[in-house]
């Protein structure tokens, strides 16, 4: 379904991805963990061709996509929904108009059908009473859900979530986790980037830890919980010292700064 093979990507003179291998099966929900700035968003971007790898292969729905033009990527993109960190809604359109945009721009669906579909997905993300508001008038969590509604409107087979619960209160997070689980039970393949361990354990089929441009550890929830990998245990416990922060305290401050910029 999604196949990342030996991906390398150099950004700003640094190998952000460095021989990354990852396979995600149809219907699976994979959670990608990693410190800020390790390249989680960069990995997601490769899956939809927003970035092209310097070397390696990206295959989505049985199609090789690396190095293809925007026109050729249309097919894959029509099957993929992408939830960006802050929803990435257009601020001059209302929530409804934002959600309807993918269907409206191509003008093939009749307006009444679009409206029904918009109401349907807004209900799914529990925003059916906020359709007429502008993005600036709703909370961050609602913007994320609106972004998810927009991603769902064209009935994707794959949904990619970039930090769907970051910056949200626990209740908003639970709503999102519930949504992810509902998509999961309807057979949608999902990749979810997060720092939120609670959320990861609640939704994941498998969990992968990204470190130094590679998948450092991969396993189902139990395997990751009981992992013997020090890096995994460090991440789960949030310990300052360990394999993820080699190079002592300097390294910690350094990557924290990077992280803010990158996220």
């Amino acid at each position: 379904m999604i196949l990342l093979e030996n991906l390398t990507k150099i950004l700003g003179g640094k190998a952000i991805l460095n021989g990354l291998d990852l396979q995600i099966a149809t219907g699976e929900t994979l959670v990608l963990l990693g410190r800020s700035g390790t390249g989680k968003s960069v990995t997601l971007r490769h899956i939809v061709g927003l970035m092209t790898p310097d070397s390696g292969r990206v295959e989505v729905l049985g199609k090789e996509i690396s190095g293809h033009s925007e026109e050729e990527l249309k097919f894959v993109r029509s099957k993929v929904g992408y939830l960006f960190q802050d929803g990435a809604l257009l601020n001059w359109l209302t929530v409804e108009e934002n959600v309807a945009l993918p269907l409206k721009e191509f003008g093939k669906t009749p307006t009444s059908e679009i409206n029904d579909r918009v109401q349907e997905v807004l209900k799914e993300v529990e925003l059916d009473f906020h359709g007429d508001k502008f993005p600036s008038e709703i909370s961050g969590g609602m913007r994320k859900r609106a972004g998810l509604a927009r991603a769902l409107i064209s009935r994707p087979e794959i949904v990619l979530h970039d930090e769907p619960t970051s910056g949200l209160d626990p209740i908003s997070s639970s709503i999102i986790n519930g949504l992810v689980n509902r998509l999961k039970s309807s057979g949608i393949t999902q990749v979810l980037v997060t720092h939120d361990m609670h959320s990861a354990f609640e939704v994941a089929d498998r969990i992968a830890l990204l470190h130094e441009g590679k998948i450092r550890s991969l396993g189902n929830v139990e395997e990751i919980r009981n992992s013997a990998d020090e890096a995994v245990q460090q991440f789960l416990d949030g310990k300052i010292k360990g394999p993820l922060t080699q190079g002592a305290i300097d390294g910690v401050c350094d990557s924290e700064e990077n992280g803010n910029e990158a996220t």
Binding site: L50, E70, L73, R77, F84, A88, P102, K104, E105
Partner: protein, 259 residues
């Protein structure tokens, strides 16, 4: 010393890259012109024309009025010492229509609209809205750049003509009040000496300026990097680069016209 040369080299390299990007963007936007004739794009474009006119109307009027008055005051002063104040009309009309009107309007629209386009598209870039459009297979060129480019190409000449009128009006007030040139004498002198060529070159300039303002604004917006600071930087660059291009283009267009 070598650091200095390296910095210069880096700057030139980046400038060449940006220029290339801008020219390709302009070409691709022009090639996407047929897409303007969909109901949604046409509506976007008309909305923008309206917003742009409304947003720059007052400042253009005030600046044009005073530019005309300044031209008349200075021209009149020199001409009066030769006893030729009846020539104020042509001096003001020609410089206003051929040079000052298009130039001044371009500067105003750069500062208000060009920087706005850079900031708007730049914000969309850093908040991943441009990426979101690409994933929905909505071309940012058709969706964002095309309506802005067309709107600016249309409203820059309109605002230029408007500025020309207001400027000449301001000048005629000064001519009458300060130099005793009647309104009739002023406008006769202006109209008799203004050729259609002068009007055309003014309009051609304004169209070129409009295209430049939109293209540079969109280029800087799309190339924005690094959060809110990046957006401010994009807007600043859009203004500086457009100013430089407008003054250089203005000179060469006048030069071709007068040759």
């Amino acid at each position: 010393m070598t650091g200095w040369i390296q910095a210069l080299g880096g700057f030139l390299g980046r400038s060449a890259e940006t220029t290339g990007y801008g020219l390709v963007l302009l070409a691709r936007t022009i090639l996407s012109l047929p897409h303007l004739f969909s109901r949604r794009r046409l509506r976007d474009c008309l909305d923008l024309c309206f917003t742009y006119c409304l947003g720059s109307f007052t400042v253009t009027a005030v600046v044009a009025l005073f530019t005309g008055m300044i031209l008349a005051l200075n021209g009149g002063d020199s001409l009066a010492s030769l006893g030729q104040e009846n020539l104020i009309g042509r001096i003001v009309a020609i410089s206003m229509i051929r040079e000052m009107g298009p130039f001044m309007t371009a500067l105003i629209l750069t500062a208000s609209l060009g920087s706005g386009i850079a900031a708007e598209i730049g914000t969309m870039r850093v908040s991943e809205e441009i990426d979101a459009l690409r994933i929905m297979s909505i071309s940012p060129i058709r969706f964002l750049v095309l309506p802005r480019l067309v709107a600016l190409t249309l409203i820059t000449p309109v605002m230029t003509i408007f500025a020309g009128f207001i400027g000449i009006l301001g000048a005629s007030i000064v001519a009458a009040n300060n130099f005793g040139v009647t309104w009739i004498a002023f406008s006769n002198d202006a109209l008799e000496n203004l050729s259609t060529g002068d009007v055309y070159i003014g309009l051609i300039k304004s169209v070129v300026f409009g295209i430049t303002i939109a293209t540079v604004g969109a280029t800087q917006g799309l190339l924005t990097k690094g959060g809110a600071t990046g957006v401010g930087e994009a807007a600043r660059r859009a203004v500086v680069i457009t100013f430089l291009l407008v003054i250089i283009q203005g000179y060469y267009l006048s030069w071709v016209y007068l040759a």
